[in-house]
C-alpha cells in the first residue's frame, strides 16, 4: 500500500459483496412491482378526481351558505396560539433544558403530518428551554416563547461552521430565552476519520446572553477528535460538555466531561472517560446526555451499533466528577443478565424531569422469548435515585417521553402498525395509538417535547438531507394533530 490504496482490503470487500448477490429474482418480483405501480397510478387518478369534487362541493356550499366568514372558519386550521394553554396539573412542564442533534432521516414516505400535509422549514437543529423552543437554520438562531407561534431571529456565532467530517457540530443549548451556548470546531481541525492520534478537534464555546444578537467565545480545553460532543445547560451559569468516544474509536481516543460555572466564560475538565486500557476502572458513558440541575448529570446509551461497555444509564451527582450506573428494574431480566448498552437496550432520549423529583425515561428493548420490540417506560419520584418500570407497551420508541401532565404521556414509536404515537392518560396503565396517527401518514418523530398540557413540539427528519436536518412540528391539541412550524425568513 503505497498510494493510499489497499488492494488486500479492496479484494476482501469485493469478495464479501459477491456473497451478497441475491441471484435471479423470483418470478413474482417484477409482477409485484408492476402491480404496485399500477395501483399507485390508479390511486393518483382517483385522488385528482376527489380533489376536484371536494372543491366543487365547497363552492356549492359557500354559494348556499353565502358567507366567506364561514368559509374561513372551515378552511383555516386553528393556530397553535389561538387558545390559551391549559394549566398543567404537574408542577410545570419539563423544566430542564435539553437539545437534540439533528436527526436521522426517514423514508420519503414519512415526511408529512397526518392532518397538515404541507412542507415545513428544514432546520439544522431544534431544542427547548424552560418556556420555549429554539431552532437553528443556517446562520440564524430562532427563539420562540409562545409555543412556536412567533419566532425571534438571532444569529449563530460567526464561527458556527464545522468540518464536513464531523456531523455532530455545531452543538447548541439554551438555558433560557436569552442564554445560549454554541460549540463549534476551532480553525485547523484535522479529521482524517481514521482515529489517528494526529487528528485535531479543538472546540470553541460561543455564548450569548441576548438570544443570539451578540456572541463571545472561549476555548474548551483538550483535543477531542473521534468523539460525540454533547452539551447541557441546566441554568445560565452551569454548563457541561460531554465528549464521548465515537464507537468507531472507542478505546483509542479519550472522552471527558468539561464544566463551566460562570456561564461559559471558563471551562475545566472535571472527569475523563476511559481509553480501552482504562475501561474496567472508568467505563464509558452514553451520549444521551442531560443535566437535571447544576450537579446532577445523566448519560444514557443511544442507538449505537455496539457492543459498548457503558451502562444503559449512568448518573453523576457531583457535577460530572464521578459516575455510577443506574439500576433500571426489569432491564437485567429482560436482557438475560447481560446489559450491553446501546446494542440491545438503548434510550430513546435522556431522562425527562418535570421537577426536582419527577422524572420519566423511555428505553427500547425486546421480549426475551419472541423478540417483540418494546418501549420500556420508567418513572422516578425521588430525583432518579430509584426508577420503576411503569409499563412496556409494544413498539420501538423513536423519541423520549413527552409529559403533558402527571397522567398523560406521549411516546413516539417507529414500527407499530397503525400508530405513530402512543399515549396514556392513566399514568402508564394503558397505552393506545393516538387517533388519527396512523403509520401511513404520521411522520417518523425522532424527538418530542411537551410545552404544557396541550402544546407539544416534535421533530421529524427531512428525507435525503445531508447533513441531516429536521422539520419542527407543533401540536396544540395534545398531539392529536400536527402542523409544521412556520419560521420567519432570515
Amino acid at each position: 500500500m503505497t498510494d493510499g490504496r489497499d488492494p488486500e482490503l479492496e479484494a476482501r470487500v469485493r469478495a464479501l459483496y459477491r456473497t451478497l448477490d441475491p441471484g435471479p429474482a423470483g418470478a413474482g418480483f417484477e409482477h409485484r412491482v408492476a402491480q404496485a405501480v399500477d395501483r399507485r397510478a390508479r390511486s393518483r387518478e382517483r385522488r385528482r378526481w376527489a380533489v376536484s369534487s371536494a372543491a366543487a362541493s365547497i363552492v356549492v356550499a359557500l354559494a348556499v351558505l353565502g358567507g366567506l366568514r364561514l368559509a374561513a372558519q372551515v378552511a383555516t386550521p386553528a393556530s397553535p396560539s389561538a387558545s390559551a394553554p391549559a394549566p398543567s396539573p404537574v408542577p410545570s412542564a419539563p423544566t430542564k433544558p435539553a437539545a437534540i442533534a439533528s436527526a436521522t432521516p426517514t423514508s420519503p414516505a414519512a415526511t408529512a403530518p397526518s392532518t397538515s400535509p404541507t412542507t415545513g422549514t428544514a432546520l439544522d437543529r431544534v431544542g427547548w428551554f424552560p418556556g420555549g423552543l429554539w431552532a437553528v437554520r443556517g446562520p440564524s438562531l430562532l427563539v420562540s416563547t409562545d409555543d412556536g407561534a412567533t419566532w425571534r431571529i438571532g444569529t449563530m456565532p460567526g464561527s458556527a461552521t464545522s468540518p464536513e467530517q464531523d456531523p455532530w457540530l455545531p452543538v447548541v443549548a439554551m438555558a433560557d430565552a436569552s442564554h445560549a451556548v454554541v460549540l463549534t470546531a476551532a480553525p485547523g481541525a484535522v479529521l482524517t476519520g481514521s482515529g489517528s492520534a494526529s487528528d485535531v478537534l479543538h472546540l470553541i464555546a460561543s455564548r450569548s446572553s441576548d438570544g443570539g444578537r451578540t456572541w463571545t467565545s472561549s476555548a474548551i480545553p483538550g483535543n477531542w477528535p473521534g468523539t460525540i460532543v454533547s452539551l447541557a445547560f441546566p441554568d445560565a451559569q452551569h454548563g457541561f460538555v460531554q465528549v464521548m468516544p465515537d464507537r468507531m474509536y472507542a478505546g483509542v481516543v479519550e472522552g471527558a466531561v468539561i464544566a463551566t460555572t460562570d456561564g461559559g466564560r471558563t471551562w475545566s475538565i472535571v472527569s475523563r472517560q476511559a481509553t480501552w486500557a482504562q475501561r474496567p476502572l472508568n467505563p464509558w458513558l452514553g451520549s444521551e446526555f442531560a443535566a437535571s440541575d447544576a450537579t446532577t448529570l445523566w448519560a444514557g446509551a443511544n442507538a449505537e451499533a455496539g457492543p459498548v461497555a457503558h451502562p444503559v444509564l449512568a448518573v453523576s451527582r457531583d457535577a460530572g466528577r464521578t459516575w455510577q450506573g443506574v439500576t433500571l428494574p426489569g432491564l437485567a431480566e429482560a436482557v438475560g443478565g447481560t446489559v450491553y448498552g446501546g446494542t440491545q437496550v438503548w434510550l430513546a432520549g435522556p431522562p425527562t424531569f418535570t421537577s426536582a423529583t419527577d422524572g420519566w425515561l423511555a428505553a427500547a428493548g425486546s421480549e426475551t422469548k419472541n423478540a417483540n420490540q418494546l418501549t420500556l417506560v420508567f418513572r422516578t419520584t425521588d430525583g432518579g435515585r430509584r426508577w420503576s418500570l411503569v409499563s412496556q407497551p409494544l413498539g420501538q420508541p423513536s423519541g423520549g417521553v413527552a409529559v403533558l401532565d402527571a397522567a398523560h404521556w406521549l411516546v413516539p414509536v417507529d414500527n407499530l402498525p397503525g400508530s405513530g404515537i402512543l399515549q396514556t392518560d392513566d399514568g402508564g396503565g394503558a397505552w393506545s395509538p393516538l387517533p388519527g396517527a396512523g403509520a401511513a401518514t404520521t411522520p417518523w418523530l425522532v424527538w418530542i417535547h411537551a410545552l404544557d398540557a396541550t402544546h407539544v413540539a416534535a421533530a421529524t427528519p427531512v428525507a435525503n438531507s445531508y447533513p441531516d436536518r429536521v422539520t419542527l412540528l407543533l401540536s396544540s391539541d395534545a398531539g392529536r394533530s400536527w402542523t409544521p412550524a412556520i419560521l420567519p425568513s432570515p
Binding site: F29, V37, A303, P307, G336, Q396
Partner: protein
C-alpha cells in the same frame, strides 16, 4: 447501457413508457439494493418503494434523460435512508447472552456465509460510506460512473473512496477489539 427515453410529460403513451422503463430495471436495482442493504428481503422492499417514488417523480425524467442514472439515484437514496434508519435503531435481537451479536447488527443472509467481521465493520460506517462501497465494490461501478450517479466530480469520488477505505480499516480494528472484549 443507458436508454434514452422519449418525452414523458403526460398522457397514456408517456406513462406507459415510464412504466416499462422502470420494470426493465427493477432486477438490476434489486441487486444493487442487496449490495447496499446486505439483506435480500429489504432490497426488494426498497426497490418497490423506489419504483413508486420514481413513478411519482416521472416528470423529472426528461426527454434526453439517462433512465438508468435517474432510477439508480432514486434506489440509492431509498437505500441510504434505510441505512440511516438502521443506524438510528439497530436491529434488536433476542435478549439472551448467547444471541449477542458483535456490532449489534443481525447479520444479513450474505453476512452469515461470508466475512462476518468485515460485514460488521461496514455496518459501523455511515450510510453514505456503506453506499459508496456497495456501488464501487458490489456493483463494480467505475469512478466516472460513480461521479455521474452521485453527481459529484470524479476527484471527489476518489477522495471519498480513499477516506471510506481508511474509515473501514479503523472500523475493522474497532470490530476486532469489540470481539476480543466479548470473549
Amino acid at each position: 447501457m443507458a436508454e434514452r427515453v422519449g418525452v414523458l410529460t403526460s398522457g397514456d403513451l408517456g406513462d406507459d413508457l415510464v412504466r416499462r422503463t422502470l420494470l426493465a430495471r427493477v432486477d438490476a436495482a434489486r441487486r444493487l439494493a442487496a449490495y447496499i442493504l446486505r439483506d435480500a428481503t429489504a432490497a426488494e422492499d426498497a426497490v418497490q418503494q423506489a419504483a413508486l417514488l420514481a413513478w411519482d417523480r416521472r416528470r423529472t425524467l426528461h426527454a434526453d434523460g439517462d433512465a438508468d442514472g435517474w432510477f439508480t439515484r432514486i434506489v440509492v437514496n431509498v437505500c441510504r435512508d434505510e441505512l440511516r434508519r438502521r443506524a438510528r435503531r439497530p436491529h434488536l435481537v433476542a435478549l439472551t447472552p448467547e444471541h449477542a451479536v458483535p456490532g449489534g447488527q443481525v447479520p444479513g443472509p450474505g453476512d452469515r456465509g461470508g466475512d462476518e467481521e468485515l460485514a460488521a465493520a461496514i455496518a459501523r460506517l455511515t450510510s453514505d460510506e456503506q453506499t459508496l462501497l456497495a456501488l464501487r465494490f458490489g456493483r463494480e461501478l467505475t469512478v466516472p460512473a460513480l461521479a455521474a450517479i452521485l453527481r459529484v466530480p470524479e476527484g471527489t469520488v476518489k477522495s471519498r473512496l480513499h477516506s471510506t477505505l481508511r474509515r473501514l480499516r479503523a472500523a475493522l480494528d474497532a470490530e476486532r477489539r469489540a470481539r476480543e472484549d466479548l470473549q
